[in-house]
């Protein structure tokens, strides 16, 4: 009995400790997930699931422009492939770091953001400074459905950012040859696709070959995450990338993106076996492959 009491007190004390170290501002059960906004030191973060959930997005309260995550900086590497986008599509909102940064970088850029969870759009606006206007439109929709509808319109994008995955869950219908072909159809000739993917598992090879089948050669940037950078009419050489990086250096500095850090990550090495099976609408067990 005494032991049980001791354990209970210990558990209570521990949960109290973890509760005070992070200051929870908002929790919500949405249709798709548990959403939590919390502050820790200088950072305000968005997390799906509680305590053990992965951070989706963070802003630094004393330096809100700074892109806190390495992967978001790597995504901005897309601008090295096409430094003057007119129209951008972002699939997956999170805290809105990417659209907010693009908004500030390019005042005239037309940005379409697609997010499946209306609650995430609300939370991004309320806690992370994401704003919508005629130039920044947020649509509540499944990403694939939006892309398929957009093909039937005349809308084409010269920058598409795919940021709908996290470590725990991949929307499998958004990692297939057919989906990537639809995305390709939405890109202008010089259009660039930046995809944030998480695979370091067995899925890595499957994902690589699927992108390669649809787009041919691409730049592969690795950190904790993997970011794939593709230009529709083929990857520019490193000379052009460095030139664009120099031109953008001053503009990107406030966002914490430095070419000294980013450029060495650019790789075109195909480090996956060429005989891997591509993922298709018929065969897409991405989440099962990601656990192996």
């Amino acid at each position: 009995m005494n032991n049980v009491l001791r354990i209970l007190i210990l558990v209570l004390a521990l949960s109290y400790c973890s509760a005070v170290s992070a200051d929870v501002l908002h929790t919500e059960k949405s249709l798709y997930r548990n959403i939590e906004v919390y502050e820790e030191d200088e950072l305000r973060c968005l997390r799906f699931g509680r305590y053990n959930g992965t951070r989706q997005s963070c802003i630094n309260l004393s330096n809100p422009d700074n892109l806190e995550f390495n992967y978001t900086r790597m995504m901005m590497g897309a601008l090295y492939l096409n430094p003057n986008p007119q129209r951008a599509l972002i699939l997956g909102l999170g805290g809105g770091s990417l659209p907010s940064a693009l908004r500030k970088l390019y005042p005239n850029l037309q940005i379409d953001v697609v997010e499946i969870d209306a609650a995430v759009i609300r939370v991004a606006k309320q806690y992370f400074g994401f704003t919508t206007s005629t130039l920044t439109r947020a649509t509540e929709s499944d990403g694939r459905v939006f892309v398929k509808r957009a093909i039937n319109l005349t809308t084409r994008y010269d920058l598409i950012m795919l940021d709908a995955f996290d470590q725990e869950y991949i929307p499998e219908h958004m990692l297939t040859r057919e989906f990537l072909n639809e995305v390709r159809g939405l890109l202008t000739e010089q259009g660039v696709l930046a995809a944030n993917t998480f695979s370091s598992s067995r899925l890595y090879n499957y994902e690589s070959i699927t992108y390669q089948t649809v787009f041919g050669d691409f730049y592969n940037l690795k950190d904790a995450n993997r970011v794939i950078l593709i230009r529709r009419n083929g990857p520019p050489d490193m000379l052009e990338i460095k030139r664009n990086a120099e031109g953008l250096a001053a503009k990107l500095k406030p966002f914490g993106v430095s070419s000294n850090w980013l450029i060495p990550k650019f790789s075109r090495e195909k480090d996956w076996p060429a005989n891997t099976r591509a993922l298709t609408d018929q065969y897409s067990p991405a989440n099962l492959l990601n656990t192996q």
């Binding site: 499946i116 499998e172 219908h173 057919e178 609408d281 099962l288």
Partner: protein, 189 residues
């Protein structure tokens, strides 16, 4: 056969999500639409199956029902792309789009599958006092089959095969089981 039918229905229900996702997404309402259609179809199937069982039920006729359910699933393999594109282009709301697409593709085979359990109960029941026991056994077998179909498809089959390969396999097994039932029936007579 009731166990297999349970397996068949749940495997198809799971795969229907896969078939609809490219056009209607994976949103919660797509699953809501799919599950509603399957439940509605099964409920109607139970009613029809019970009604059919009144007129001289035989194992052979049960086999015919199983064969009919598998044959009416064939359009899913051959025409689902065309049909889903058609619905996608005419219905902009993904809720009603997925509802319409899943009813056209899956409603009829699921109604027919629903006929199997009540019909099989009639064949099993020999004495009134044991009818509850027979029904209990049948519910056990068919729902156990459903559980097996759900876990087998979602955990293993999708990792090994393409969606259409799984569909074809399911249809072939149904056809064989229906054929066996027909054969057994004629040898008995």
């Amino acid at each position: 056969m009731a166990g297999w039918s349970g397996f068949f229905v749940m495997a198809i229900e799971l795969l229907s999500g896969r078939i609809l996702a490219p056009s209607f997404g994976n949103s919660i309402y797509v699953w809501g639409g799919v599950i509603s259609i399957f439940m509605l179809a099964l409920s109607i199937g139970y009613l029809i199956g019970g009604h059919l069982s009144v007129h001289t039920p035989t194992l052979g006729k049960l086999g015919v029902i199983l064969i009919a359910a598998s044959l009416t699933s064939l359009p899913v393999v051959f025409f689902s792309d065309v049909l889903i594109d058609l619905v996608f282009n005419h219905v902009s709301d993904p809720r009603y789009g997925s509802l319409l697409a899943s009813s056209t593709l899956f409603f009829i085979p699921t109604v027919i599958s629903g006929c199997i359990s009540p019909y099989a109960i009639r064949l099993l029941v020999t004495q009134l006092h044991a009818s509850g026991q027979s029904a209990g056994k049948l519910y056990f077998i068919s729902t156990f089959g459903s559980a097996a179909g759900t876990i087998g498809t979602s955990f293993y089959l999708v990792l090994l095969f393409e969606v259409n390969q799984i569909f074809s396999g399911l249809i072939l097994i149904s056809l064989s089981l229906g054929g066996i039932a027909l054969l057994l029936n004629t040898t008995h007579e």
